[in-house]
């Protein structure tokens, strides 16, 4: 039997959908039982939410005031103490999981697999390297724990029909005081989450200013979509950093992705390869974005966007 522990991610009293995606990935390993661990200051509602994820065997609730904020240095020793009973420990390849899971692995003395995109066997997985330009099949040692992050864009969230039992767990771990949370400034956009949205509209350097970038927001509003951006647009201050899509930003998998004034650098493309339909609007017919676009339109975005918005009604 394979016993897998999934570390839940949450914010603002809600589970991040990445958690249910990790459960999907874990459930693809045959013979696996999948438990979810929720670390929080108050975990009741979160644990109840996790218990509904289809395929979950048990939810572990670890309540501690120290778990109010997700600090890897404090969470890692607690995960390690739970990990003893498991063959696999999975977290999402979000900034939360990327921060935490390598620390967990090192404390366990094992390597870590980043960005699992496909499960081949209990100890064999596929993952992307070189900004997705190569996909490798990797085998982890059978006699050690597998610690991994799951590439959330590669898995659908497990459904919500489950009713797993919830257990409060006390962990024995010494928590350091050397790391302290100060603040978080989340741009509350009121828009759907970039990583789970069905449609995304992104703008690049071509927008030229934060003021001009509003045309991207305005088209996104018409489509009920969140906004993404290229690195160039973020670096230039047209868009917030958490909107960056790509190798070092967010990896997304919407049904529809509209890239406006984005050239299509390798680092950007790796973030959108899982999009079902890519639309590119660019004035340069030679732009590499057209090599991956399903629908391309050559032209000036400042003429095209208002017309498109109007046509959408």
């Amino acid at each position: 039997m394979t016993h897998i522990l999934v570390i839940a991610e949450h914010a603002g009293g809600k589970l991040n959908p990445a958690t249910a995606k990790c459960v999907t990935c874990a459930s693809q390993i045959s013979d696996a039982t999948v438990d979810v661990a929720v670390f929080a200051a108050q975990a009741d509602a979160l644990a109840a939410e996790a218990a509904q994820i289809a395929g979950v065997n048990r939810v572990l609730k670890i309540e501690d005031a120290a778990n109010a904020e997700p600090l890897a240095a404090l969470l890692a020793p607690q995960v390690v103490s739970l990990a003893q009973k498991y063959s696999h420990v999975f977290g999402p390849s979000t900034t939360f999981g990327k921060d935490l899971m390598p620390r967990v692995a090192a404390l366990l003395g094992v390597g870590q697999l980043s960005d699992i995109m496909a499960v081949e066997a209990s100890h064999r997985f596929r993952r992307p390297i070189y900004a997705g330009n190569a996909i490798i099949t990797v085998e982890a040692p059978a006699d050690r724990k597998v610690v991994a992050t799951v590439r959330t864009a590669s898995f659908q969230a497990a459904g919500g029909a489950g009713s797993a039992p919830i257990e409060a767990v006390d962990v024995t771990a010494e928590l350091p005081s050397h790391t302290r949370f100060i603040s978080r400034s989340a741009a509350a956009t009121g828009r759907p989450d970039l990583q789970t949205a069905a449609r995304v509209v992104s703008g690049g350097r071509a927008l030229g200013s934060a003021e001009n970038f509003k045309v991207i927001y305005s088209l996104a509003d018409k489509l009920g979509a969140p906004v993404g951006a290229s690195r160039a647009a973020v670096d230039a201050g047209y868009a917030a950093n958490d909107l960056q899509v790509g190798q070092t930003g967010k990896i997304i998998s919407p049904e529809l992705y509209i890239a406006v004034g984005i050239s299509g650098a390798i680092q950007h493309l790796t973030g959108i390869k899982d999009a079902r339909t890519i639309v590119a609007i660019n004035k340069d017919a030679e732009a590499p974005i057209f090599e991956v676009a399903d629908i391309g339109l050559v032209g000036d975005l400042f003429a095209i966007l208002p017309e498109l918005e109007k046509a959408l009604g």
Binding site: L71, T137, T179, T248, K273
Partner: protein
């Protein structure tokens, strides 16, 4: 005064479109341009700025790699690092092994800050800094977009999925860089000449007494699935008609 240790990994330059070998045994690296991992350049730039503001007395760049990695270390010295350490290894190390090597360097140098990149753009692992902090039993502040030093602590703003987060860590600590931390300086010719005289120490990986055995086996390399060739539309009405036909807009 305190030292800053910076990791400089030698990687395929970010402009190179990496290709998988036809037999699936690896990626083509022969004759391909190699550079300092972009995140590590940012780490070095930050270390230099800290030193220039009086926050450190020495910046040491370190790399684990083949003999050719001296090129990247010399570039680091030309950017302004004081000295360099090459841990020579023909074999590429997994992040846990790299972290164990860095821990050895920490024992040797006792830095106040270790600055690494958030990820190597080769294997896209994003692990070494976090692992090093765990092994060292010290704080980590990953994906930094702003670092403020305040005596024996660092206040670090981190780029997280939700926006920006600020944490405070006691020093010594491991910090990893994100893209928005700074813009690395260009190297000037006279600096390249000067860098030739700066100390570059070479250590043999085998002499460090570190367990660097690989845990993972890479069975195969494959190119990513290619997307189907798309279509070009001539104007907005045609774009909209195509989207409607695909059921993507009403």
């Amino acid at each position: 005064m305190s030292k800053i240790l910076v990791g400089l990994k030698r990687v395929v330059d970010y402009n190179v479109r990496v290709r998988v070998k036809p037999d699936g045994s690896g990626v083509v690296t022969e004759g391909v341009k190699m550079s300092i991992n972009p995140f590590d350049e940012i780490a070095l730039e930050e270390a230099l700025r800290i030193k220039e503001k009086g926050g450190a007395s020495e910046v040491i760049v370190a790399s684990i790699g083949p003999a050719e990695t001296q090129q990247q270390l010399r570039t680091g010295l030309a950017m302004g690092a004081d000295r360099a350490i090459l841990v020579q290894s023909e074999q590429a190390l997994e992040p846990l092994s790299a972290a164990r090597v860095f821990l050895k360097l920490i024992e040797k140098e006792s830095p106040q800050i270790v600055l690494l990149g958030k990820q190597g753009i080769d294997d896209d692992n994003n692990q070494t800094g976090q692992m090093l902090a765990a092994l060292w039993n010290r704080p980590q502040a990953t994906f930094a977009s702003k670092i403020e030093l305040d005596g024996t602590l660092a206040r670090v703003t981190r780029e997280v999925d939700a926006g920006l987060e600020t944490i405070e860590v006691d020093l010594p600590a491991v910090l990893t860089t994100d893209l928005r931390l700074n813009e690395p300086r260009y190297v000037k010719l006279p600096e390249i000449m000067k860098a030739k005289k700066k100390p570059l120490e070479t250590l043999a990986l085998g002499d460090l007494g570190v367990d660097v055995a690989a845990q993972f086996k890479t069975l195969n390399y494959a190119p990513p699935p290619s997307r189907q060739k798309g279509i070009m539309v001539k104007d907005v009405p045609e774009l909209l008609a195509t989207l409607k036909q695909k059921g993507l807009v009403q």
